[in-house]
Symmetry: C2
Subunit: 333 residues, 2 copies
């Protein structure tokens, strides 16, 4: 479609975006000045926004479907960390000068798939032909019952620390993409890449943690940094026991090749798993939830164990020695 | 501050953005994964998003305060056109590689002023160091009483067409900025420039039009194009009488120098005035509202006057002749 006439914004809306608004009458078919939404009575709203930019958050040549999945995934992960049910979103696209309609076609198709999987709809947006690389901003609104929200600041001394899924696959996937893990088997490389490209926001888990978890955050900056955010907000320190931390087979294969990647797993970002705390009395319920959702929920540490400063996070290996890292989390600039 | 150490994202939030979240407890101090908002019972939500990009929507060297005012202004204008009261917003900034803290300082200071003027608060956002020009996306949420919303599609045959303020100042201001109006007096040039740089969203007017206006839209693409959008959504044609259309002294001075600029006024965008329709029975109330708000609300045309196709808009001069234009509105690409 390299030489196809490019549609104007009104045609873009009709062709690619209006279909994504079907099913939510408040979107007004993307035809009015704004969306007109009726919030469910008694619910609170959870609102978050994230921007992804080509060359920073994904390579410029990334597949349109992967970009769509990542954009929605990182935003839904924030909702999951607050225990919210996805409802609606707005999308802003700043397109590069050489954009092609085929890009938007594949991009919108994947958004449609994600909408179906997570139960939300597009209700507004803006598309501009910019002078720079593709830059996308998504703002998502979810709903949560009064008091059902998960916060970062509710952890108490003695609470257990849990992690969903496995640690480090996202950050290791980025290393695979950058060609930094020589000799990794193809299936392992593919698996890690997929985890980096397509986050699996733990929306169902977030919804089920109301009443169980005392605090929650998603792992986007890295385990150590994000537990630090949670611990600081809760006025506690925290200890992670490295022994029980769950890793995928692909991650273990990567560690076997490059032992230093263990640090990447603990401090790298992009996992989009949920990190949460719960009192010891909730242990059985959490085990039951893990079975029900068929999702590992592993106890990896404890809050307030060392009486250190709020926000202090230590990682202890099987021999009781503290592990030290050169970087403790994703640096935003 | 050219060589000052640049703060990381956490410092940016604390220094520039967290103060803008004070006053809205649901922002959680911008410290959690998302905002947690309690919508007022029985209200509907109005949600809109707009993106501005350097080199497309404003010059790269534009003053930070002007960029902030324009970004918030264009979004609030969409709320005004729906009759909504501003409530909260999220802000995404994709900064150029050479961004300076002084930019954000001035930018945030103006956001604070605008927040105070329009009664809304920042509740979330994202800041990324991009590889392209400054690109900003704002998503604003307003509230409206059930049934109090203004829509594009409610105009009836015989309704009068009204315009707030004066026509064309924004588009003429852009021409001034581009150096295309030689000989214009300094005060007139300044006035037009200010209208282009700093939209004055008609939020109060929008709130007061509930129950009076049958349809509304803001003039962002240009009078002829935007009345076309309203007319099409309403299933009507429309006629504008050029005679009564209100112009500022600065615009009249520009027309005297370059008569072709009259076309710019009718078809150019960026005015951010409200264009609305109302039944003839509302005429006295609208006149009263105009006096109360100290804002011109001028009857400039009629809906369904010619029995043409829905969306057809004709402009008739004082002699009853149809005026024709080479471009009827802002082209988005």
């Amino acid at each position: 479609m390299g030489n196809a006439k490019r549609p104007d914004e009104f045609e873009l809306i009709a062709r690619f975006f209006a279909p994504l608004a079907e099913g939510e009458s408040g979107a007004l078919g993307l035809q009015d000045d704004a969306a007109l939404l009726r919030p469910e009575e008694g619910k609170r709203l959870i609102v978050t926004t994230d921007t992804l930019s080509a060359g920073v958050h994904f390579p410029a040549e990334e597949a349109p479907g992967d970009i769509a999945a990542k954009l929605l995934g990182v935003n839904l992960s924030d909702l999951a960390a607050m225990g919210a049910r996805p409802w609606v979103y707005t999308l802003s696209l700043s397109l590069p000068e050489d954009w092609q309609p085929s890009f938007l076609e594949e991009f919108a198709r994947e958004l449609g798939r994600q909408q179906e999987a997570y139960g939300l709809h597009l209700v507004g947006g803006d598309t501009v032909a910019g002078k720079g690389p593709l830059t996308l901003t998504l703002t998502v609104i979810g709903t949560v019952d009064e008091g059902g929200e998960l916060r970062r600041g509710g952890a108490q001394a003695g609470d257990h620390v849990y992690l969903s899924g496995t640690l480090g696959d996202g950050a290791l996937g980025l290393r695979v993409m950058q060609g930094e893990i020589d000799g990794l088997a193809g299936n392992h490389a593919e698996e890690l890449l997929a985890r980096y490209r397509r986050p699996r926001p733990r929306v169902q888990l977030g919804l089920r943690l109301a009443g169980l978890a005392s605090a929650a955050i998603d792992v986007s900056d890295g385990l150590v940094a994000d537990l630090g955010h949670l611990a600081k907000a809760s006025g506690q320190d925290a200890v992670i026991e490295a022994g029980p931390v769950p890793f995928s087979d692909a991650a273990r294969a990567a560690f076997a090749l490059v032992p230093d990647l263990m640090e990447t797993a603990f401090t790298g970002g992009d996992d989009y798993e949920l990190l949460f705390t719960a009192p010891p009395t909730a242990a059985d319920d959490i085990e039951g939830l893990s079975k029900e959702l068929d999702l590992a929920l592993t106890r990896i540490g404890q809050m307030g164990a060392d009486g250190k400063d709020a926000g202090d996070v230590r990682v202890i290996d099987d021999d009781g020695r503290e592990m030290t890292f050169t970087e403790t989390g994703y640096r935003h600039f």
